[in-house]
């Protein structure tokens, strides 16, 4: 399932919702991305995420379908926020559930690597002094994709 929302989410509550009353799930893996107070050495006070409504959901749904085709998943959830966020708030959540741990681990890493390079989101970081800068693409994010090429 894909959810794109402005509101905060609670990782623990989402995991519980997925696993509650399920007896076929042996492993659940989650990744939560948070707003941190530095980037490339510069202080960050808040983060604003712009996105492309419509295309964002489509891209995330495609990525979820790819993961489900590659691994045996009992469930899969992607939540990505947009709008203004304060330090330490959650930005993104990926939860994967499978019978055994391998599929859940691998699928969660795959989802994050693809999401970072395909989902149309852009981060604007603001500091205390009223400066705001668009975050630049990282070569390491492109490199991370290479491990998934067959």
């Amino acid at each position: 399932m894909v959810i794109v929302q402005a509101e905060k989410f609670n990782t623990g509550a989402e995991i519980e919702r997925i696993t509650k009353d399920r007896t076929d799930i042996g492993a659940v893996v989650s990744f939560t991305g948070l707003v941190r107070d530095f980037n490339d050495g510069a202080a960050v006070q808040s983060l604003t995420l712009e996105h492309y409504p419509g295309m964002t959901e489509r891209e995330l749904e495609k990525i979820e379908l790819s993961a489900r085709a590659k691994w045996d998943l009992q469930d899969c959830l992607i939540i990505h926020r947009f709008g203004k966020m304060a330090l330490a708030e959650p930005i993104v959540l990926v939860v994967t559930a499978s019978k055994h741990r391998h599929d859940a681990f691998e699928a969660a890493a795959f989802l994050m690597d693809w999401l970072k390079t395909k989902a149309p989101f852009w981060k604007l970081e603001a500091d205390n002094e009223g400066n705001a800068d668009w975050v630049k693409e990282r070569a390491s994010d492109q490199d991370a994709l290479k491990r998934w090429k067959d």
Binding site: E50, H80, V135
Partner: protein
Amino acid sequence: MKILYFAWLRAKVGLSEETLVLPENVTSLYELITWLKKRGPAYEEIFSDLNVVRIAIDQEHITGDAPLAGVSEIAFFPPVTGG
């Protein structure tokens, strides 16, 4: 045709979207970019280095030139930085 701009491209052009009627001789994506560049200095600037611009046609990522027949929406944006 609906044209959308995101992130710093939106900020430079000063618009998030506009609906334009293309001249008949603009039939491909590259022809569209050439035509848009003539609309003013902000357009000239955002398209001055196409290595830093990403493009989606009808909400699908695209690389290289493409025909515009049947296309309803084109978006221009920087490399994505979500997650």
